[in-house]
Subunit: 515 residues, 2 copies
């Protein structure tokens, strides 16, 4: 029998959830449908939803209910729905109360003006236009960090907003190991980069037909009809207003067929996560994906592990060739498979291939650490950026607009976000290996267009938990191991070793990188 | 110098406004984009937004601020922004406090289940399926009426939700006079109904090309690029999230070209009203259209006075003939003008022509009066309906699904809404006459595609006021007269008298109908 306080808490939290998802609808509309004239009012509407949500989660009444429920919580199994709901609600409540409303407002304002300045700075290729906003963002984030005096490392506080429970030390170790594994592998692959031809993906592809192709592909993904839609946007994203109302949005580039296809697969991976949360926790704080890292593990699974697999192209090459017979007829699955795994040293993270992607992330993570605890003067950021890109990717950055100014995150005060991209890749590697162990014929299934077994395995081991378990616990239960780079690195070595015909002794995965 | 309490009130009300408009975004998405799987969560999200908005407008703190501001309000000119804001906020606050939250919840639930039952009843042509829900709705609305014991007539309370300040006695007088004027005019026109040929509008028109045509037409309407969009829906509507984010939605019927065109013009009329509110009152209770009647006056102005005018077809017939040359080539402006003014006695209100439309409304208004104060047993509603349709339109209702079951309003508890449709027509007639007096070459302007002068006149005399003035006051200031049927009836007599070549002595507008 649930105590009355629990029912009351749950009702209050249902409202908080609804306000949060209402904000998601407004954001979706803003990014896919809203005419430009709607921008100013939309910013007000979203700010109000955030503020009202904040009042309601931080309310004294919630504190009273949480205090009253402590004995009940302690009487329950920690991973019961009830105990988890109270635990997660308490964390949300305490986080909301720690930060003074004025600071929240300052952060929101600085994010908005920073984003605006960033557009200008990038367009004009002038880091100086962004610098004062960056200083302001870092200063405000430092004040934010001070609201959590118990944190061991200031960066822990930033990380916790995106990856609850993850510590800086653990992230640093993981990404450091990943760097050590990736640098020699990438260098070897880049030396043989010409071995792969992907020029046929960079022809001229009618956008309306691309849109049909992407829609047809999404219709083959393991998600129920009538529970999702696909739209155009300028920066691809996925969102969901409930597990049966998933929104995928992508963009199309006439001269690049793979851009829309892989971004849609990526976003559908996010969408499948959203669609798989346990229905019993609807309208509670538990019914959302647990972290950005876990979210990214799902998007990268469908984009890369599935979408850039040989099995996938054995299944779907005909759909592509059939949509663009004038450009793609006569190409076989192997041609596509090799082309979509072409590796190049490039400047822009969001266009990077699977193998070099994490190196882009490493640049950003290391600079964030330097900004918050390493004493890096923000004026020196462009130089520090360019130096790392040279070191990790072997290329020169010709201009800041394709260097330090390329991403919006810092301009909006989003520090601690970047490393979750690589954490997602690492987790994806672990889950992929575990899914293979559980579904021995996984590759054949994919080759026959049967994507439900993989979805079901991910739903059972990841999606359904929502926020009940943190990402480390989900990985531990799904794979029997802590979060570790081994499986991901093995996956990369096996695939790129074969595609680029690398000498096996160098990169077979024996040695220190196996964990 | 505005007192601090005023600033505080304004800030609180800005949040209420944002919550209201956030709800409008969710409703727009629900009706235009949402996959079917989103329905259940969307209902929760919308209910939460309504509830949270209600808490915030009904809060004790708002009462305290309103009390504190009374001397300030009394020191101001009544139609100053400040005094109006306080006055309208007080009305909203008091209305919100009068109705117990439990009753609000019961009304909302009954509306939702009633809507569901109505779909079933209409589909099965079985009034009995709706009857218990109708009884429940009327009973709940009677309890709602009792929350306002000062009302002279119970129906005043219902009317006030849609047409603030309008009394039943005044509405009854206006619609009674309108009936007396319309019945003989309609009878005379229907006798000559065959004089007009509109068969060419009921050919087969490719929906994609219709969509292009409607979009091209909307682009010629006097609304700025980047401040609106047009979408598909199943029941046409317009909404706005700010004056520069207007959403129009319509539907297309392959066999009926005029359906989408006139519904889009109608909705754009609503949209132009939304777009014309004074920017100084943004995010206050003043920045919304004042009433449904006034709203409808704007939609009917653009749909009928403009869209069914000779001048309009002189300007746009080429656009139509050019889009469908295989169907419409060779037709001149006069052919279109006559066709779109074809009058027929028909069963369905939303498909009725301009002239018979108000007779459909009268049936509903008289029955609502009978339900709430005339002692009509709801079981007798179908018979009472059919009798009036026979009397006013001279046709028999073959089945309830095209009779009493055709509209959703009553099933959702929406009593008091219908008469605002005719009130809108009446006001549109008055404004149209006044606009002609102010812009002597109005017809020539329209003929040359210059629609901005009319929009500017409406903006100045109607739109910009928002909720500052009630509809009677807006009409009084714009026309120098109270709300009266004279101009509307003259407009109808002149137009239909000419199209149907009626003897002028009978319907020239002399006599009792001139007011």
């Amino acid at each position: 029998m649930q105590p009355a306080a629990y029912t009351e808490l749950r009702e209050r939290l249902a409202e908080v959830h609804d306000l949060d998802r209402a904000g998601a609808v407004l954001t979706w509309d803003e990014r896919t449908k809203m005419p430009p004239g709607g921008a100013a009012a939309r910013a007000d509407q979203l700010a109000t939803l955030v503020r009202v949500k904040h009042y309601r989660i931080a309310a004294d009444e919630v504190r009273r209910l949480l205090d009253e429920l402590r004995p009940y919580e302690e009487s329950l199994a920690p991973d019961s729905t009830e105990a988890s709901l109270i635990r997660v609600a308490r964390r949300d409540h305490e986080k909301a109360r720690r930060v003074p409303p004025d600071l929240e407002a300052d952060l929101a304002r600085a994010a908005a003006t920073g984003e605006h300045a960033w557009r200008e700075a990038r367009e004009q290729n002038d880091f100086g236009l962004l610098l004062p906003h960056l200083r302001r963002n870092v200063e405000l984030r430092q004040r934010y960090v001070e609201c959590f005096p118990d944190a061991e490392d200031p960066y822990d506080v930033l990380l916790d907003d995106y990856e609850p429970g993850m510590k800086t030390a653990a992230m640093e170790r993981l990404l450091g190991e990943l760097k050590d594994a990736l640098l020699p592998l990438t260098a070897a692959v880049l030396e043989r980069s010409r071995a792969v031809d992907d020029s046929f993906l960079y022809d001229s592809f009618d956008v309306a037909r691309q849109r049909e192709l992407v829609l047809a592909l999404m219709q083959r993904m393991p998600i129920a009809t009538g529970t999702w839609r696909l739209d155009d946007t300028s920066h691809p994203f996925a969102t969901a207003f409930s597990p049966t109302d998933v929104r995928i949005a992508t963009r199309y580039s006439e001269g690049n067929l793979s851009s829309a296809v892989f971004s849609a697969l990526h976003e559908m991976g996010h969408g499948l996560y959203e669609s798989g949360v346990n229905g019993d926790t609807m309208r509670t704080p538990l019914c959302r994906p647990v972290s950005l890292g876990m979210h990214e593990s799902q998007s990268r699974t469908w984009e890369n592990m599935v979408g850039r697999s040989r099995a996938f192209w054995r299944c779907y090459h005909g759909l592509f060739a059939g949509t663009f017979p004038d450009k793609l007829a006569g190409l076989g699955p192997e041609d596509f498979y090799r082309a979509v795994n072409k590796v190049r040293a490039s400047l822009i993270r969001v266009e990077a291939d699977e193998l070099t992607y994490d190196l882009h992330v490493l640049v950003r993570f290391e600079l964030e650490r330097a900004m918050f605890t390493g004493g890096l003067d923000l004026a020196d950021l462009p130089e520090a950026w360019n130096e790392r890109v040279r070191q990790y990717l072997g290329i020169d950055v010709p201009a800041d607009c394709v260097g330090v100014l390329q991403d919006v995150h810092w301009a909006e005060g989003g520090f601690g976000y970047f490393p979750t991209y690589s954490l997602g890749n690492i987790i994806a590697g672990q889950l992929w290996e575990a899914a293979h162990a559980a579904i021995p014929d996984l590759e054949q299934r994919i080759e026959h267009g049967q994507l439900a077994p993989l979805r079901d395995w991910l739903r059972e081991h990841v999606h359904r938990h929502g926020r009940k378990l943190d990402s480390a616990e989900i990985v531990a239960r799904a794979t029997g191991r802590p979060i570790e780079i081994g499986p991901y690195v093995r996956y990369l070595r096996d695939k790129y070793g074969e595609v680029y015909e690398l000498p096996t002794e160098d990169f077979s995965g024996a040695g220190t990188m196996r964990m």
